[in-house]
């Protein structure tokens, strides 16, 4: 097996006296979809935020392509090709769809010594990317505040897919989506994975996880139950573990090998 693209070792994250993560290790491979599952408050969002540069881990190490990685802020992570759809989307309601789409990564065109925001290009790409996701926008200058929750989520996903050259992190991306859009997102995950992108997919829906996941890691109260590869675990077992580990005893055997 190839070396993982990202190796997160014993990640701990403390918020004051709260221990959100108490030592979580996960390997993420290029061309695979890694599903992160677990109860509310298990620490999934906190975990991916240490990977996307939002949080600095209190303890632990992140290796990216074999080398230690220290992101000062999300800008560094994005520059390294790691794009994230946060649970809270990171969209600005008063700004237009295309301004949101390119926020932090604006395309520029040079006129003499000056660099200007290339609005035409931004608008064109935004409309095209949104159409790929199955949403027809009224216009690229529509304010995000006027979009529905699902439309907003789709913009965030389309944006991350566009910028996530190496790693795509999706934190509950389908929570507000309709049937067609959800299918679209799952198909997109499958597509970018085949292009060699590493995908981290957080969801509460086992069927969605089973549909696209190559590996499954279940978090519970800041710790991991371990990682299982596709075929090593049934949907029913996964479901039980996500519920907080009832019947844990019977499940540990199937996971234990990879812990």
């Amino acid at each position: 097996m190839t070396d993982p693209l990202i190796r997160m070792k014993d990640i701990e994250k403390h918020f004051g006296s709260v221990i959100a993560l108490a030592g979580v290790s996960v390997d993420i491979h290029a061309g695979e979809c890694h599903c992160l599952l677990g109860d509310n408050g298990a620490g999934k969002s906190t975990f991916i935020k240490t990977l996307s540069g939002v949080h600095h881990p209190t303890r632990g190490e992140i290796l990216f392509g074999g080398r230690p990685m220290h992101f000062a802020d999300p800008r560094d992570a994005i520059a390294a090709g790691i794009a994230t759809v946060h649970q809270h989307l990171a969209m600005i309601p008063l700004m237009s769809v295309s301004r949101n789409f390119f926020m932090g990564n604006e395309p520029v065109k040079r006129i003499g010594p000056f660099a200007f925001f290339d609005h035409d290009r931004a608008n064109r790409i935004t409309m095209a990317e949104m159409e790929k996701m199955g949403i027809v926008l009224r216009g690229p200058d529509q304010a995000v505040g006027t979009l529905s929750g699902g439309e907003r989520q789709t913009v965030a996903i389309a944006r991350a897919v566009h910028f996530g050259a190496r790693v795509l992190i999706l934190d509950e991306p389908t929570s507000a989506l309709g049937v067609r859009q959800t299918a679209n997102v799952l198909a997109t995950i499958d597509k970018v994975r085949k292009q060699g992108v590493a995908v981290v997919f957080i969801t509460h829906n086992v069927r969605h996880a089973m549909a696209v996941g190559d590996r499954f890691t279940v978090l519970n109260r800041g710790r991991t139950y371990g990682t299982a590869a596709r075929g090593e675990i049934t949907p029913e077992e996964l479901q039980d573990m996500m519920a907080g580990g009832q019947e844990l005893a019977t499940l540990e055997s199937s996971l234990g090998s990879t812990v």
Partner: protein, 372 residues
């Protein structure tokens, strides 16, 4: 959008009337206000001298002063912060130029450059404290309002035993940098206009035959330049997008890779820069620096920005709008003077128009964000 590829027309959109489309522009209030103000004074004060060359120059200069600080306040407000220390900064910057240039006898251009560096540093400190502590900029800059005003009164008293330092006019004689703030341009054009009779000329005295208005003050050039640069920066550059994003939602902007802290600190510095431009022009015009200069300017700047359509909560606004807000200010303040109206009524006007502008802006925001 003409260049968007084969966009399927959305059947769920009602045609938006051009009127409503115009309504959801931040400049709307400024445009309507400007027209209203000119119509009003055109009807009621046309023969007061307000619209002859001297009168026009009079309110243009006052408007330009407002514009200079409004541009700084506008970009800062869109980035989600306030600067209440602008007025004190104006007094402080002017006093420092006087102390460096007159009391200490440095060449004026050095005095001006050192003052700019000092004030930009204070602006950066304002911003740094705000982004580091997460305190509201309202409080942090309120502290600097007092700190800077205190020094502006204290320093000249200790050094010169008075609160006004004069003699800047003589010290600045022939100085290249001082001319950039206190000089005038297009003198030749105005002389020619006077000769062909397009504008009034002095009919008596030592300056007989010379035009009453003999050039465009650099103050106006600065104002228009700052408005132009501000507008382009905000709407046409990557940094402009960061300004909107930082003020719209700092957390989301940060998570999307916008260097929010840098943007905010730079905008505090820009606000300080505008205040210092104002102060430098003012001391060059008056030939002196006074400890009470710039009083209440921060509020006037903020009101101009709000009339110009910016939201107090950040993330939305327009530099052109703020410039129109400043124009309304200048025209009304001087117009009331020309019309012989008691000047205290200007404050009543300010309060009323501020209230209207805020209500209009809130309404516009609801339309944009679709909230009810």
């Amino acid at each position: 959008m003409s260049d968007t590829p084969q966009v399927v027309q959305d059947e769920r959109v009602k045609r938006i009337s051009p009127f409503r489309r115009a309504l959801i522009r931040p400049e709307l209030g400024g445009i309507v206000g400007t027209v209203a103000v000119f119509v009003f004074f055109g009807l009621f004060a046309y023969d007061s001298g307000m619209f002859n060359s001297q009168g026009v120059m009079n309110w243009s200069v006052v408007s330009a002063q407002f514009m200079i600080i409004a541009v700084g306040a506008c970009l800062l407000m869109i980035a989600g912060e306030f600067d209440l220390s602008v007025g004190s900064m104006i007094g402080f910057a002017g006093m420092m130029i006087a102390i460096f240039g007159v009391t200490m006898g440095w060449p004026i251009w050095i005095a001006i450059l050192v003052t700019f560096a000092l004030c930009l540093g204070i602006g950066a400190l304002n911003g740094f404290i705000v982004v580091r502590t997460g305190l509201p900029s309202f409080i942090v800059t309120l502290a600097f309002l007092f700190i800077l005003r205190g020094f502006t009164i204290f320093l000249p008293q200790v050094i010169e035993r008075k609160t006004i330092i004069g003699g800047i006019g003589e010290a600045a004689e022939g100085d290249w940098l001082a001319a950039l703030f206190g000089g005038k341009i297009l003198g030749g054009l105005f002389r020619w206009l006077g000769e062909i009779g397009a504008i009034e000329t002095f009919s008596r005295g030592t300056r007989q035959g010379e035009p009453v208005v003999d050039g465009i003050p650099m103050l106006i050039v600065w104002a228009l330049g700052l408005v132009l640069v501000g507008q382009i920066l905000l709407t046409r550059t990557r940094f402009g997008n960061w300004i909107f994003a930082a003020g719209g939602d700092a957390e989301s902007a940060r998570n999307s890779g916008v260097p929010v802290n840098r943007v905010k600190i730079l905008m505090f510095m820009f606000s300080a820069f505008c205040a210092t431009v104002f102060a430098t022009s003012q001391v060059m015009e008056f030939g002196s620096a006074g400890a009470d200069r710039g009083l209440l300017k921060e509020f006037e700047a903020i009101i101009a920005v709000v009339i110009g359509g910016a939201l107090l909560t950040g993330g939305y606004g327009s530099v052109i709008g703020a410039a129109l807000g400043a124009l309304i200010f200048g025209v009304v303040q001087q117009g009331l003077f020309f019309a012989g109206v008691e000047s205290s009524l200007f404050r009543v006007f300010l309060g009323v128009i501020l209230l209207f502008a805020v209500i209009l802006n809130t309404y516009i925001r609801r339309i944009i964000t679709g909230e009810r």
